[in-house]
Amino acid sequence: DAMVIQNPRYQVTQFGKPVTLSCSQTLNHNVMYWYQQKSSQAPKLLFHYYDKDFNNEADTPDNFQSRRPNTSFCFLDIRSPGLGDAAMYLCATSIDGGQQETQYFGPGTRLLVL
């Protein structure tokens, strides 16, 4: 089945130690998104790629970076995780980023910072 896959499902890192979360998709969608969802809060968009074009939300901290080496894969890099970065990180895709499209979400990676 075509889907959005996130690995690992749970990630533990140490304060200040760089960590990378991965997302892959078999839907062949042009747009990939990364959301951060803290406990009991709504998902918040960090950035998205339209093909290779990177779009950063204005309030996304510089500590968060992303890479999209090809259509199928997208990575979220947290350069120096702080305790406040502990959250669920959700990857999503959409066909072409148009105004009438749905977004398809992966199962998420729950990040714990010690």
Binding site: V31, A42, L90, Q99, T102, F105, R110
Partner: protein
């Protein structure tokens, strides 16, 4: 930016009961979707509904764009309906790549 409110914040139901969840938004929208997040964190799209009414089994949704609200109806609720229901919108001046999520309604269906 566009503001999204959802009510009620929490809802507890007995299995078999019906419920209505509401989403209010502050500006015109090009896209509105309802999502269900299950207890394991998976977000599932329920409806794409910027206007009008749709039904899918026990769920239905209505959006009145001119009055800036949307309703999600759950009939004959089941324990598997538990989780958080989010309304997400894209504002009229965006090209559809910036969803804003409401705070969600946490639903607990008791057996």
């Amino acid at each position: 930016g566009i503001q999204v409110e959802q009510s009620p914040p929490d809802l507890i139901l007995q299995e078999g009961a019906n419920s209505t969840l509401r989403c209010n938004f502050s500006d015109s929208v090009n896209n509105l979707q309802w999502f269900h997040q299950n207890p394991w964190g998976q977000l599932i799209n329920l409806f794409y509904i910027p206007s009008g009414t749709k039904q899918n089994g026990r769920l239905s949704a209505t959006t009145v764009a001119t009055e800036r609200y949307s309703l999600l109806y759950i009939s004959s609720s089941q324990t598997t309906d538990s989780g958080v229901y989010f309304c997400a919108v894209e504002g009229g001046d965006n090209y559809g790549q910036n969803f804003v999520f409401g705070p969600g309604t946490r639903l607990s269906v008791l057996p």
